[in-house]
Symmetry: C2
Subunit: 476 residues, 2 copies
């Protein structure tokens, strides 16, 4: 089955306008730009109309109209994804349906530790809402000021707190979804135990809008940690980082909420890009970790001190500093977060959002560096990220220099080297960014025919006319 | 589509025997009894053969043979379920496929905090294996000495540690599954972040063997708590119990690993059944909780003391005792666990495994008790269970007396009263036991047509010939 390519009919657009009103429709090219183009990485698309329903009933009515007309829909929330998953194609035959007007917190229930929210709520606003209730909503990632929860759930977003709290999937108790034919599935239950048949919400979480449109969700809340301790430690090598993580988890009873690998080259790039960035340690070391313990345990700081001292004794840690206050901790985290931006200092950066079992991280980095170094002696190695989850942003590249642009042709062969190794080590070629368009075909190279066919079976069963974000995640 | 009813052909049985050998086949009636009858609650079935493959390849070969012959299969692990989900029908036209010979731990990976196990591993053995590694595998339930992990995953088992660690679904990183046509899906990945398409393992977890047979799993391990503090507290009423839970979670930063509601009537039944059972408090109170804090925090006991003292001050807690040692804690838990057995002291016990949002527990109990008390003035009220997850074992009944057997006819009207209220409060009529046969039709009374049809769509897509545990969970 191929993606429909017929142009969108004017009478469909007129009927949609009748449902959502003028303020629910954008057709002006300048106003549509933010919806048609990706946030980063140059994704671009075309569409005759961006539709912004005000509520679930309007979403359902619009989807029903599109279904009956066999016009495909690209669901969109904050449009901050990095894989082109929320960008329409260039054919202009798809409606963009944005949930960004649906941004209300519908209910909070402190004794149940839940909040019920609409899909267009900005993540940072939900974090803020939880804080006002003296609770934590732990999902946290770089785009949190712009991304919206419907997109976070549709991509099963990760971020910096996965180690303790899990991915977005783990933070949801219930969903409301508009199905491809416009029917509404009301699974907005706030239950921690429910075994009355297939757990349907799992289908839609991480489906990148290809099986339906998430319109509301019941999210879990957590106690707010009463204390937080942050350390920056130079480690012997990546294997030492992994062993330090294990020690910290055991000693603190899972109070480790952040554990990020940071390379000296990454720090250098950040300082080059933002010269006011403080260097956490006096001496420079090739490999470092930023670690954070959170909880209500009054002994967190002493636990952290003990773990670091014992790890130093064991030769895993070479030097370390514990943030004396929130401002210092904040500065350490800012340096980590600035890695994304600082990579612009490179002339070309070839990004990989991969994961391997935590126990294979050191092997992955060593072998990937060696293989790329052999093929490209002048390549710069850069690896950083959430190694507590086995997730590495492995982004080698070249410094700015004449001719660097021509290196872009090495992107595919480099992807092949990196992804081959990832899969050999039992890993994933897209740990937290999803497939979208960017990795849709690449994944076919690695997944078994059985798995690809299972995915197609699901897509065909739930979206038989291929109208929901067609061509994203999987082709049918 | 109806369940196939053709008799199993002898040539199929012969071919299966060629695959698994004589020791993989049971056809003797006495030897088959343990596989054909339910562990409790009187489920009974018939089958010409119980097949016990030694490995995944044999499972796949047997399933392929059955698929080609259109002979249905009842997958079975420990056969300890309470809803008839692993019992074949009385028609005798189904093969029982038991995974109980597949009981090896295939791999452990301490730095990745995982173990890879076969589906027939007994849960208690996996707990023990984790303990030998100085780790915790937190799934824990009454049947743990007999139930097998394949069944735990297929029913998304709950148990006593869900509050902190989640249901069985939350403890799995990867699965291997034999699909209804005999193909093997190898999703045995040990990754904490993987967003390369639909998360297929979620389909099979909790599917009660209706979409395929789980043959192996990668399970998560956790740090072993260094301390555990257990208290028994009399509370003002169920609402006070819920408020105490909230206080304890906030004060301890989620160190609450157990929180069980216990009624005086339940304690009385246990003491009647097992007279040596110690009564935890000197005074008798109608409502009580058993609570447990676990972690590596050295201040757990003082946190527990503070929480209880403040809750007493606030009028939530009437009296409380903290176990002075492990033996006392064990005795408190044993009294809770003995509730299951002690209900035999009642002449008739009408069991409900329900959940509601935690915030609605008190309302549920009050309204259910009132409604049943109005309809049946002589009924005995009994509610207990994992209220930290919103899960209540609501088991009213009648004392042993002449004529009590005739009360069994009230089962259906009582179910209707209880389940109507559960659903009105946004709850689930099967919190942790699944649907099987017991609740398969009952759930149709409550789920929306959209949800029922989505479940059917999934079943039809993955098992088009309706060969995997047909008639369980959902009819198609």
């Amino acid at each position: 089955m191929n993606t429909p390519v017929a142009a969108v009919r004017q009478d469909l657009l007129d009927r949609i306008r009748q449902v959502v009103g003028d303020k629910g429709c954008i057709t002006d090219a300048a106003d549509m730009a933010a919806y048609l183009n990706g946030w980063r990485d140059g994704w671009q698309g075309r569409s005759p109309m961006v539709v912004r329903p005000a509520n679930t009933a309007e979403v359902a009515a619009v989807v029903k109209l599109c279904h009956d007309a066999r016009t495909p829909i690209v669901p969109q929330a904050g449009n901050t994804g990095l894989t082109g998953g929320s960008t329409p194609g260039m054919a202009g035959n798809e409606i963009v349906l944005s949930v960004n007007r649906m941004n209300r917190v519908r209910a909070t229930d402190l004794l149940n530790e839940t909040m019920t929210v609409e899909a267009g709520c900005i993540l940072a606003n939900l974090q803020q809402k939880a804080a006002e209730l003296d609770r934590l909503f732990p999902l946290s990632l770089g785009a949190e000021g712009t991304c919206q929860i419907g997109g976070n759930l549709s991509t099963n977003a990760g971020g910096i707190n996965v180690l303790k709290y899990g991915n977005a999937r783990n933070l949801v108790l219930g969903l409301e979804v508009v199905l491809p034919d416009g029917q509404v599935w009301d699974g907005l239950r706030g239950l921690r135990k429910d075994n009355t048949g297939y757990d349907l919400k799992q289908l839609f979480i991480g489906a990148e809008g290809t099986l339906g449109i998430i319109t509301q969700a019941v999210l879990k809340l957590f106690p707010r940690p009463r204390d937080q301790q942050t350390a920056f430690a130079a480690v012997r090598d990546p294997q030492a980082a992994v062993e330090l993580l294990s020690r910290a988890r055991i000693a603190s009873g899972e109070a480790v909420t952040g554990f990020e690998l940071i390379q000296r080259f990454g720090i250098d790039l950040v300082i080059r890009h933002l010269p006011q960035t403080p260097d956490p340690l006096a001496q420079k070391h090739a490999w470092n970790v930023l670690m954070e313990l959170s909880g209500s345990d009054t002994g967190l700081r002493s636990t952290l001190e003990t773990v670091l001292a014992e790890a130093m004794e064991a030769g895993l840690v070479l030097d370390a500093t514990i943030a004396a206050n929130q401002a210092q901790a904040r500065a350490m985290w800012k340096m980590r977060e600035d890695h994304a931006e600082a990579q612009k200092e490179l002339g070309l950066s070839i990004k990989h959002d991969v994961s391997v079992p935590v126990s294979r991280i050191a092997e992955f980095i060593a072998r990937a560096d060696a293989a790329l170094g052999k093929a490209y002696p002048d390549i710069k190695h850069l690896a950083f990220g959430h190694i507590g989850d086995g997730n590495i942003h492995y982004n080698p590249g070249w410094e700015n220099a004449p001719g660097v642009a021509a290196k872009a042709k090495e992107r595919d062969p480099i992807n092949r080297i990196v992804h081959d190794l990832v899969v050999e080590l039992g890993g994933s070629i897209s740990a937290e960014h999803g497939l979208g368009l960017l990795r849709r075909d690449e994944v076919k190279h690695y997944k078994s025919p059985v798995e690809i066919e299972l995915m197609r079976t699901l897509k065909r069963a739930l979206d038989p006319h291929n109208l929901m974000n067609p061509g994203k995640l999987i082709e049918i």
